[in-house]
């Protein structure tokens, strides 16, 4: 709720003595989360929710990895009888769906939900209750998918669920419905996170952090969030159309050619989301890479503006590529050429970023090859390979040969593991001390990196050749005569090495949590504001909202750098600033803990899960949702004493002042 409005413009800077101890005690009290289970359920602290997201998404990553291991065991030799087609189809579908919807997007947006408020110097995300709601919705979607798999009702038509195979005629039962509703759950969560990130980054930045001073990681998250907002509705629409096609008594026939529907419509809607999805996963990775490279090179980013413009242009061009997933369908050749052009063009911004990163490293100080940096270097090498095979796939005639083969399996893992998981692991090593106050073990970290890098290339490099030699994707077995046995065995051995790398990571996390070297506030000597507070940060993030004079606030902090005073400490209040200049605008009261996000998520769950079985779930769910929203928006009454306090602590003038700490 908006308490005060002030005229935009130059804030005046005053020198004042701040009562640090009183402010800290009050902030502690007003931002504290209730202890116990109820507190856990009602918290709206962005850090608790983001950590939950990260841990949950990582658990899904492990589940998805186990499924991948099952596939590699099955394919290690021809005609293996380890998994039958029914089990294999469920396993590969749930593997892909998990990695895309339950792991990659959520863990990247979760990093944003944790670090965007810290990096822009504010106390919480813009809509804390909505944020909590997003997590519960996401969790429900994930549990739904795995309950399906464990009850032999796992979806089995691929993460792309092409119709008519996934339609009512060829996929009876509830398997595909579970998939479709899982999509709806996770995409709502993604949209929620996107809204949080955009508003937080645009309206809640520390004074002085004008658009051209936003940290590169925050830029990456903003571009990602905009892509989510434009891409996710397409898949939610498609999955809902599929659900209504399949729902007995509704049977809409959107995708049924026999009743005037169109099977290709699904592919357009799916890939209009599906291709940007790749960039939604990859762009946060580039944000991580830019952040880590600047820290380790100990110099300013080479080509900050070029890097930001590359991100933005990737975000735009990413929406013009979807037909390159459909080159094998009967589309006109000239039309396909435009998509070839766009697919090849997107290599340009990626190239710009790689050149800027190499230049930053080149011109930087001596590099200490710590684990986070190793992952970044592994990323550059691996991602360049994935990018080059991407150019091949973008070429319409060559794609006719390699499309839907193991070549694509290799390519997509080079792009997603190389482009997102390597940076992610680098980020986990880099930010672990911020979360726990302790550094992760370097020796285990290096072991982790080398096992993952070698295991990854052993697993996926041979798949390029398998694709060229005729092995299609999504096959549960192959004949011994095909000659694909040796390379598949090699890939399976690589998968074992990769698994060992992930196990080394897990050991490192559990060991370092207790026994890691104490980190202090800023162990890597980094430049962004999350390192300007304690590790782990207090619930209110910063005692005083910092101010920013350039792109590298922590490197240039001086004893007389002003901080923001005048924000209320007795309620949860944050500073809203102007989108472009980040000049202070007004104060904004953030909500306290609340149970209503959980209630609303439960109502949503009843609706979406119920609609798998009956259309009556929609009116019933709407009524429940209405009740939950009434509770959500019910105004809090403020005690009179608090009201009096409000007037006492208000400074004069525009309600805000920048004060020099003395």
């Amino acid at each position: 709720m908006i308490n005060e409005r002030s005229k935009p413009g130059k804030a005046h800077i005053e020198t004042a003595t701040l009562d640090v101890e009183r402010d800290r005690a009050e902030l502690e009290r007003s931002w504290e989360t209730r202890p116990g289970f109820i507190g856990w359920l009602t918290t709206t602290n962005h850090k608790s929710i983001a950590i939950r997201y990260i841990v949950t998404a990582f658990i899904f990553f492990l589940f998805g990895g186990i499924l991948a291991a099952l596939m590699r065991i099955q394919l290690a030799r021809p005609r293996s009888e380890f998994l039958g087609p029914d089990a294999y189809d469920q396993v590969f579908t749930v593997h892909g769906s998990t990695m895309m919807f339950l792991f990659a997007v959520p863990i990247m947006t979760a990093l944003g939900l944790y670090f965007v408020p810290l990096m822009v110097g504010t106390r919480n995300v813009a809509f804390p209750k909505l944020n909590a709601f997003g997590y519960y919705v996401y969790l429900t979607g994930g549990i739904l998918l795995y309950l399906g798999l464990l009850s032999n009702t796992g979806p089995d038509t691929g993460w792309f669920s092409y119709v008519p195979l996934s339609g009512p005629d060829f996929a009876p039962g509830k398997r595909v419905d579970i998939w479709a509703q899982m999509i709806t759950f996770t995409e709502i969560a993604a949209l929620v996170a996107a809204v949080e990130i955009i508003v937080t980054a645009f309206k809640m930045r520390a004074p002085g952090m004008s658009l051209n001073r936003i940290p590169l990681f925050v830029w990456a998250m903003v571009v990602t969030a905009f892509m989510i907002i434009f891409a996710m509705p397409a898949i939610m629409l498609a999955s809902s159309m599929l659900a209504t096609d399949r729902l007995t008594g509704v049977s809409t026939h959107f995708f049924n050619p026999a009743e005037g529907g169109d099977a290709l419509l699904w592919q357009h809607l799916f890939w209009f989301f599906g291709h940007p999805e790749v960039y939604i996963i990859f762009i946060p990775g580039t944000g991580i890479v830019s952040t880590l490279i600047v820290t380790f090179a100990r110099r300013i980013a080479f080509g900050y503006t070029a890097l930001v413009l590359s991100l933005i242009s990737t975000g735009f061009i990413g929406f013009g590529l979807w037909v390159h997933h459909m080159f094998a369908t009967p589309l006109p050749q000239l039309g396909q050429s435009f998509f070839t052009g766009a697919s090849i063009m997107i290599a340009i911004p990626s190239g710009v970023q790689i050149f800027c990163w190499i230049a930053t490293l080149w011109l930087g100080k001596r590099l200490e090859l710590k684990t986070p940096l190793l992952f970044v270097l592994g990323f550059v090498f691996t991602f360049v390979i994935g990018g080059l095979t991407g150019v091949m796939l973008g070429s319409a005639p060559l794609d006719l040969q390699v499309h839907d083969t193991f070549f694509v399996v290799a390519h997509l893992h080079y792009v997603l593991i190389g482009g997102a998981i390597f940076p992610l692991f680098g980020a986990l090593y880099y930010w672990f001390p911020k979360w726990t106050g302790r550094l992760m073990n370097e020796r285990l970290g290096k072991l982790n990196f080398w096992l993952m890098l070698i295991g990854f290339h052993l697993t996926f490099f041979p798949m390029h050749q398998l694709g060229i030699q005729g092995m299609p994707r999504r096959v549960y077995t192959y004949l011994p005569e095909t000659g694909w046995g040796a390379l598949n065995l090699l890939a399976s051995i690589g998968a074992a090495v990769l698994t060992a790398g992930v196990i080394a990571f897990l050991i490192n996390v559990f060991w370092s949590r207790r026994h890691g070297a104490p980190a202090g506030d800023n162990p890597w000597n980094s430049d962004t504001l999350e390192w300007a507070t304690s590790s782990p940060p207090p619930s209110y993030n910063f005692l005083y909202i910092p101010t920013v004079r350039n792109r590298y606030p922590v490197w240039t902090v001086e004893p007389d750098t002003p901080v923001v005073a005048g924000l209320r400490t007795d309620v949860r209040e944050a500073l809203v600033t102007h989108t472009i200049t980040a000049a202070p605008d007004h104060r904004y009261e953030l909500p306290n803990s609340s149970i209503w996000p959980l209630v609303l998520a439960a109502a949503t769950a009843v609706t979406f899960i119920g609609v798998i079985f009956t259309a009556w779930a929609i009116p019933i769910g709407a009524a429940l949702t209405f009740i939950a929203l009434v509770g959500w928006f019910w105004p809090n009454s403020e005690p009179a004493a608090l009201e009096a306090e409000r007037h006492r602590s208000l400074p004069t003038g525009d309600g805000l002042s920048l004060e020099q700490q003395t």
């Binding site: 092409y162 060829f170 094998a328 390979i385 060559l398 040969q401 994707r473 005569e481």
Partner: protein, 327 residues
Amino acid sequence: MFFQDLSGAHSSVEPATPQAGRIANLWWVMFYVSVAVLALVTAALIYAVFRRRSAREQTAPVDLSPNTNRERKATRAAAVALAVTIAILFVLLGLSFTTGRAVSFLSNESPLEIKAVGHRWWWEFQYVDPVPSRGFITANELRLPQGRQIVLTLTSNDVIHSFWAPNLMGKKDLIPGQESRLIFRPEKQGVFRGQCAEFCGFQHAQMGFLVLVESDGDFSDWYNHESQQAVQPSNDSEKRGRQVFLSSTCVMCHTIGGTPANSNIGPPLTHLASRTSIAAATLTNSRENLAKWVTDSQKIKPGNRMPPNVLGPENLDDLLNYLTSLK
């Protein structure tokens, strides 16, 4: 037999048609360009990391105002690298466009037209003849004359499949309610293997087919033979076998030309014995394999649409005698 080693029989880089040859050339251009780009980027990265730094470069904790001269040089180098990248991409785009045109246009001569229909999980090939009665349908084995332009029209009766014989041409989807087209001219004789490339359910993995490219003479002989109805049983056992076929569930899905069996849920068996493989190019066509397939195909290809058949040993024997006689 042909099932010894197929490793070169489904390879994108061992083309048997000019069309696949054009694509293979494009592949090799892109491959070598990619190797060069990767080598340059990796070299630059390694140098950037391990470059020897002067003592002065190492002392300051962070570099906030870098040496403008070096920055300018680096900017120039990055701009050159970007220009080279763009140039390479435009060349690849041009090559891609010309290759795309070359592989999707017909030449003037009259083509051999074949219609391919995808089924779960087998391939129906309809040879369209100007004289309708000479047209015929076969399954899972495509025979083609060497040196003649082929136009394959592709569609599906159930879900989406994709026709892919890498040595002949790239893949095209078979989509219910739509028709797509593949054009190529086989110029090498031999046996090539193809496989469904779009996930289509349980037996997607083993929805294979063979392409036999033959001389014109061999092809015409085969063609004339296929145009005929099935041969009549020549002895009592085969006659009983036919009776077993016609009086059991077989008849509900299969066609044998010249008999009342006339359904196309499963592959036509009119000239079954002249095919080299059964079960969508999964098993060699032998009496032993046929027996296993007829009695319990679910064990070989779980989830396929052929039910297990309980036949007495004598009935089975007669049936196999009949089926193996269908040359």
